[in-house]
């Protein structure tokens, strides 16, 4: 039963690559946004907050279609990136990573934001009285104290990215070896006669990955509490 075929390996490795790249690229943006939402008051803050959470409540096929319209070969952003930077998203694994990044972004940002909000701002004041400029305060006090939350956000975002289906298949289709992730491979296998065993194996792989990610996120959250108490 547990003989994973080369085709299945291809899907698993592609999923991992897509999810890792999506998470790594999304993380700096996620940290910046989490800090902005936790620490700043500005005009349009609640609108920005809503837009970030939109992929969570929008039908994934809608998000995928919007990505296709904007980042496709003839899309406004996609055309520009392809012509001037040579970055193409449509029907490529990079497009799958973009779709996964967008879909997992709300989950990635949330723990980061909560951990920044939990930091005692008086510690940042103390750092300032010791001669640290604001950006130094961020990198030597805020970020280290928020680190477990940042890692938890990355783990959750990764878990979501690895399971993403609707937006990905809408945006970049289901091409084996290029855009066929675990989820779209399972979808194809279920439609094929005799695909049940292979689909079952991939289902188990995705359960293991998701469960592992949740346990890791929980562990990071516990580390965060210990860290804030200085033990």
């Amino acid at each position: 039963m547990f003989d994973i075929s080369p085709a299945e390996w291809t899907a698993i490795l592609l999923s991992l690559r897509v999810a890792v790249i999506a998470t790594l690229v999304a993380t700096p943006f996620g940290i910046a946004l989490a800090w902005l939402l936790a620490r700043r008051d500005f005009w349009g803050k609640s609108v920005l907050d809503a837009v970030v959470h939109l992929p969570l409540v929008l039908p994934p096929v809608v998000t995928g279609y919007l990505l296709l319209l904007s980042f496709g070969r003839r899309g406004l952003v996609g055309g520009f990136l392809a012509d001037y930077l040579g970055i193409v998203f449509s029907f490529r694994w990079t497009g799958a990573a973009l779709a996964c990044g967008v879909m997992s972004f709300p989950l990635l940002v949330r723990p980061m934001r909560l951990s920044i909000e939990a930091i005692d701002r008086r510690l940042e004041q103390a750092a300032e009285t010791l001669g640290a400029a604001p950006w130094k305060v961020f990198f030597t006090v805020t970020l280290p104290l928020a680190l477990p939350g940042v890692l938890a956000g990355m783990v959750l975002g990764f878990a979501k990215a690895i399971g993403e289906f609707g937006a990905t298949i809408t945006f970049v289709s289901n091409i084996p070896g290029e855009t066929q992730t675990i989820s779209s491979a399972i979808y194809s296998l279920i439609q094929t006669p005799d695909g049940d065993a292979a689909a079952g194996r991939l289902v188990i792989v995705s359960i293991v990955l998701a469960l592992g990610a949740l346990i890791a996120a929980e562990w990071f959250a516990r580390r965060a509490t210990a860290r804030l108490h200085g033990n």
């Binding site: 005692d120 008086r122 510690l123 004041q125 103390a126 750092a127 300032e128 009285t129 010791l130 001669g131 640290a132 400029a133 604001p134 130094k136 030597t140 006090v141 280290p144 104290l145 860290r227 804030l228 108490h229 200085g230 033990n231």
Partner: protein, 220 residues
């Protein structure tokens, strides 16, 4: 030397204070709610006055008329808070070295050793702040502030969070700092006995106004 002449509204409360401090330890005395902490936060640059000026050691750090407001991190002040505020993710040695690193000062082992001896904190260096007693934490906070080589040390009720026994344990260290560390201090307290032991000059605050000013005898 410290010159303060400020006005500030904080909701219903208004603070208006003007004094010039020359002594080694300026004691800021008043009941809670008199505006002592707000005043110290303004000297530190954490709070901005509505009107007026603050001059530390000849440098104007605040002057609303001239549009001057030097940010906290460029004021070269040390600040010891009632609740120590040690960085929980750093050990004692890293906490002590933080100010020097952030201000880009060259290592000064002799000065470092002198402060550590003065406060008896050499044995604590490898520990995390969570594993220190209240008194130890406050001594490390004092050391951390002094090691950033401030030109003015602000102490806001540094003994406020400690019980009587611990207070008596820290007081001698503060007296030693006053006599040996060569850094002028602003010492905030609501405890007249504490100030009688430490201060060389008193600024008395009542409901946001300076009511008396002079030697320690104004506490009587």
């Amino acid at each position: 030397m410290l010159r303060v002449d400020i006005e500030k509204r904080l909701g219903e409360f208004s603070l208006s204070a003007s004094f010039t401090g020359e002594g080694r330890v300026i004691g800021l005395f008043g009941a809670s709610g008199a505006g002592k902490t707000s005043l110290v936060n303004m000297i530190a640059g954490l709070l901005r006055p509505d009107r007026g000026s603050i001059v530390i050691d000849g440098e104007t750090v605040d002057d609303t008329a001239a549009g001057i407001h030097v940010p906290t991190y460029r004021r070269r002040i040390g600040y010891v808070f009632q609740d120590a505020r040690l960085f929980p993710h750093l050990n004692v040695a890293q906490n002590l070295d933080y100010g020097r690193r952030m201000s880009g000062l060259a290592p000064d082992p002799a000065h470092h050793q002198r402060i550590i001896d003065l406060l008896d904190i050499g044995a604590l260096q490898g520990r995390r702040p969570g594993k220190l007693s209240g008194g130890e934490r406050q001594r490390v906070a004092l050391g951390r502030a002094l090691l950033s080589k401030p030109r003015l040390l602000l102490l806001d009720e540094p003994l406020g969070a400690l019980d009587e026994g611990r207070k008596l344990e820290i007081l001698p260290y503060l007296a030693r700092l006053r006599d040996e560390a060569n850094v002028p201090m602003v010492y905030v307290s609501h405890d007249a006995a504490e100030l009688r032991q430490l201060a060389t000059q008193i600024v008395m605050l009542k409901q946001g106004r300076v009511t008396s000013f002079g030697g320690v005898k104004v506490l009587a």
